[in-house]
Amino acid sequence: MDFEFTEDDRAFGRRFAELLDEKLPTDWQGFFAEDREALAFTREFCRDLGRAGLLTVSWPLEYGGQEAGVWKQTLLRELMTASGEPRGPQYMNLNYIGPLIMKFGTAEQKARFLPPMARGEVIWTQGFSEPDAGSDLAALRTRAVDHGDHFLVTGQKIWSSYADSPADWNLLLVRTNPDAGRRRGMSVLLVDMASPGITVRPIESMGGWHEINEVFYDEVRVPRDCLLGPLDEGWGVIGSGLTLERIGIPRYARAQRVVERLCDHVRETGRAAEPDVRQKLADLRVRCEAAKLLAYRAISLVAAGANPSAEASTARIHATLLEQAVGHVGLEILGASGRLGSPSEDHAPLHGLVKQQWVHNIPATIGAGTLEIQKNIIAQTALGLPRSR
């Protein structure tokens, strides 16, 4: 057991932090701020990182990585997330879409899909939830009919992140065998978003610009070589991906950055001596540490070759509740002036950082499996409790 990064890892982190300082625009508010211009920047930024081999440092050389190890990748992710995700939608490529293709893909699929991710040239979206299949994902009905050399996909997905960025490709969970039982008979398809028959309808969210979408599929033709993993066994493929997704975003790093900015703020405004403020900020900082350590524990297990499902859910529960607490408690510390939350507003404390933290984390306990689903996973897998509804 060792709680320290190697000097080599730390030096890598320092170099990357310098690079971020240099590349990020001075008025950078983060990808999730209400600034559509940010998306254009993220595309350019990803290509730059791709050229420097920094998007997928932990990947094998043959797919455009540097085989730099999981901890350098973790430090890099932390800096990205803390800085408001300058990679934009492409964080998902590294977090789970790429690793899923690496794990379940054919040699051709790996050669075709992974290098563009490493070069920072491709935006992926995903299609899991449907209007009548949210937490009960196995109730999904979007149908892929097997026509031998291709599938024809018809149905509707919802909450597809970044589909209108626009996304180039889509990791899509569909029903290929309606007679095989709820969790059997599903498959994962890699779908070219330029295919005829796809319609994207952005959903306006509380977070401002369109990051979530409905996607309609009308007899969309998907070649058979775009089937990821075994036919009818997509549930296991997705389950493995969700474990990675749950620990892929170092949410604690963003939370800690906001806590640090709040500490600066109360110091600058002469409120650092207020016992209540000191207690609240210290509590949030401690929770950042707890969430980070639980993520590191799950990553340690992944590094050792395990698929730590309950551990990933434990880490995610701490991180998402922490992110929400930082928004709520932070705004309470700011008080009335915290109502001004848009970066463009004069007098917005910390340029609206804390209010943004609040609003963008309302769905933190909903996406990638709700808090309740995470708890069900832990109850059943780690505690051996009966299935409950």
């Binding site: 709680f3 901890w71 210290a282 434990t314 505690l383």
Partner: protein, 430 residues
């Protein structure tokens, strides 16, 4: 970075767990708690034979020279079985104070015996009205002839009745000591709660302390059988025998003074951090046991025609317990690791006490993070555990109470959440 236990650490945990399950069943714990002695002599010998009493002690004094990280792995298993044992009071807390503040002669006299388990030492630090262990003592050491006399009252001193030596924190009259690095001489007059840190920004506390108060802190060794020492059993429900120690004009000679007053504060601060982390590990073991009992109950207890664990409201309480216990565990491991990293033995395995006291606050954040989080989290865990168990968990016949009583004692010992969060706040430059 690697947050998995080493093979040796897993082996140690398994060994201690097997031993506790075999030799310390809950019914025996109940029996021991009712006894005069308050711990099992057989257990004590077993722990000593296993090397736990000497685990942390320097090799030059017959110890194993291992780290706090190894200790917490073992302590968690003792806590899981609620084993009453002087191990932490003697071989962790008292041994650390003697090791860090003691003269060569004092260390040679006590450390090998404590490490072998043939002697028991305990630290008397709390006084009536105290809210934490960091407050300035009132027990007064005054010059008398060639030596000193000690008068004062200590409370909640664990295992004082079997101690071969008491380590006592005292106020040293006429010895001016600048506030120690951790500001352990600072106190809020009358409140009984110390403030973490010498340069606390809160204006109304921590000012009239240290040098200005006309006294420094000292540590002395006292024979519990000496004239003027009276022990009286106290009952705090924490499962361990604790005592009021009244000291009336107890004779203290030069060789009984433990370190210089300047070294006493930092030595006590480092020893308290070690004890805080060790006791956190013991408490985590109890919380883990409460979780295990709750899960067993949720699986077997049927109401409305199904196991109550099939109700999501019950299942999710169990999960909340697990996520809290896991967070406590890794914060505790980290604090232990940091204590070891901050006070590494030198290359020759020799302990340089003076050198190790240069930065007594080096693990401030990690220790304070672990204890502040664990205090609140373990309280939540036992609240859930009692709710899942229903009425039976309130019964003394059920094992849950063994752990929930200890959990509350833990929360009230070695600094509450507010105290440790203030320590974190200072680390954030607030």
């Amino acid at each position: 970075m690697d947050l998995t236990l080493s093979g040796e650490q897993r082996l140690l945990a398994d060994t201690v767990r097997d031993l506790v399950e075999r030799e310390c069943p809950p019914d025996l714990v109940r029996e021991i708690e009712k006894s005069e002695r308050g711990f099992g002599d057989g257990h004590w010998k077993t722990l000593a034979d296993l090397g736990l009493t000497g685990l942390l002690l320097p090799e030059e004094h017959g110890g194993a020279g291992q780290g706090v990280l190894d200790l917490v792995v073992a302590a968690e298993e003792l806590g899981r079985g609620a084993m009453p044992t002087p191990l932490l009071a003697s071989a962790v807390f008292a041994a650390a104070v003697i090791d860090l503040a003691g003269s060569a002669a004092q260390r040679a006299r006590w450390l090998p015996a404590i490490g072998a388990g043939t002697a028991i030492a305990t630290v008397a630090v709390l006084e009536p009205g105290a809210r934490d262990e960091w407050g300035a003592p009132d027990a007064a050491l005054t010059p008398h002839g060639a030596g000193h006399r000690l008068t004062g009252t200590k409370i909640l001193v664990p295992y004082a009745h079997v101690a071969d030596v008491l380590v006592i924190t005292v106020k040293v009259a006429g010895v001016a000591v600048a506030g120690s690095v951790l500001g352990t001489d600072a106190s809020t007059p009358g409140a009984g709660m110390s403030t973490p840190g010498a340069d606390v920004s809160t204006p109304d506390v921590g000012v009239a302390a240290g040098a200005g108060s006309g006294g420094g802190r000292g540590l002395v060794l006292v024979d519990p059988g000496a004239p003027g020492v009276t022990l009286r059993r106290q009952h705090d429900g924490g499962g361990e025998p604790v005592f009021e120690v009244v000291l009336r004009d107890v004779e203290v000679n030069a060789e009984d003074l433990l370190g210089t007053p300047a070294a006493a504060g930092p030595a006590l601060a480092v020893a308290l951090d070690r004890m805080t982390v060790a006791s956190t590990a013991y408490a985590i073991g109890g919380a883990q046991r409460a979780l295990d009992l709750s899960v067993e109950h949720a699986r077997s207890r049927r109401q409305f025609g199904q196991p109550i664990g099939a109700f999501q409201s019950v299942a999710h309480r169990c999960v909340d317990m697990l996520t809290d216990v896991e967070a406590c565990r890794y914060l505790c491991y980290q604090a232990a690791w940091k204590l070891d990293a901050a006070w590494k033995l030198d290359a020759a395995g020799k302990v340089d006490a003076a050198g190790r006291l240069d930065a007594p606050g080096a693990a401030d954040f990690e220790v304070a993070a672990a204890k502040s989080f664990a205090n609140d989290a373990i309280r939540r865990v036992f609240t859930h555990a009692h709710q899942v168990h229903g009425a039976i968990g309130f019964s003394m016949e059920h094992d849950l109470q063994l752990h929930s009583r200890r959990g509350k004692t833990f929360e009230l010992s070695y600094g509450g959440s507010t105290w440790h969060r203030e320590r974190v706040a200072r680390g954030l430059d607030l």
